[in-house]
């Protein structure tokens, strides 16, 4: 079975541009979460979606948005990119958004803003 897949793997953007990152969860998983991992730090929660509804949002500005599609895949959008948005963006999927459910992570998208 395929794991969580993310695309693209690497991306270079210019300040002020917009970016869309994509995530396909493990088959059967309905919950998708997004995390930002800045160099030298642990991943920080950005969004969680379940059954196409936003269930939670971390402490990120409105420039960050996301959505989940009927097939449970998800997109993370970031507008007006800043240098500080350079990071590894991780997607995680789980069967349901419950505390005792294991989350499986993708390899991430490395975003560099220049």
């Amino acid at each position: 079975d395929a794991g969580v897949t993310q695309s693209p793997t690497h991306l270079i953007k210019t300040r002020g541009q917009h970016v869309t990152l994509r995530c396909s969860p493990i088959s059967g998983h309905k919950s998708v979460s997004w995390y930002q991992q800045v160099l030298g730090q642990g991943p920080q929660f950005i969004f969680q979606y379940y059954e196409k509804e936003e269930r939670g949002r971390g402490n990120f500005p409105d420039r960050f948005s996301a959505r989940q599609f009927p097939n449970y895949s998800s997109e993370l959008n970031v507008n007006a990119l800043l240098l500080g948005d350079s990071a590894l963006y991780l997607c995680a999927s789980s069967l349901v958004p419950a505390r005792n459910t294991e989350a499986f992570f993708g390899q991430g998208t490395r975003l560099t803003v220049v």
């Binding site: 642990g42 929660f45 505390r99 390899q107």
Partner: protein, 113 residues
């Protein structure tokens, strides 16, 4: 606020040495804790998890962790490390109300062959 902290940011050991990585949590109520590992170029993988029951948790690849409530700790241990254990290790916890995960800052472990 709920948080997880890791004491060591960078650890260097020789092969066959014993390993202990520190993790402390700071919240009450139901405590659930994880250790994740991120090998170079690979995705985050779950090493082990504690939800309830036996405080000594066995994970994959010979790792174990002990939940000590009185010390608010969940340290990761391995009796004899291998070069292939070189990776970054994250202590983490799901937030109280659902499965959003809070991560520590990570410990970069480097094993000398």
């Amino acid at each position: 606020a709920q948080s997880v902290s890791q004491h060591n940011h960078h650890v260097i050991l020789s092969e066959a040495a014993s390993l202990e990585l520190g993790c402390n949590y700071s919240y009450g109520g139901t405590v659930n804790l994880f250790w994740y590992v991120q090998y170079p170029g690979q995705h985050l993988q779950l090493l082990l998890k504690y939800f309830s029951g036996d405080p000594l948790v066995k994970g994959i690849k010979g790792f174990e962790a002990e939940f000590i409530k009185s010390k608010f700790s969940f340290n990761l241990r391995k009796p004899s490390v291998q070069w292939s254990d070189t990776a970054e290790y994250f202590c983490a916890s799901p937030m109280n109300r659902d499965d959003k995960i809070i991560f520590g800052k990570g410990t970069r472990l480097h094993i000398l062959p």
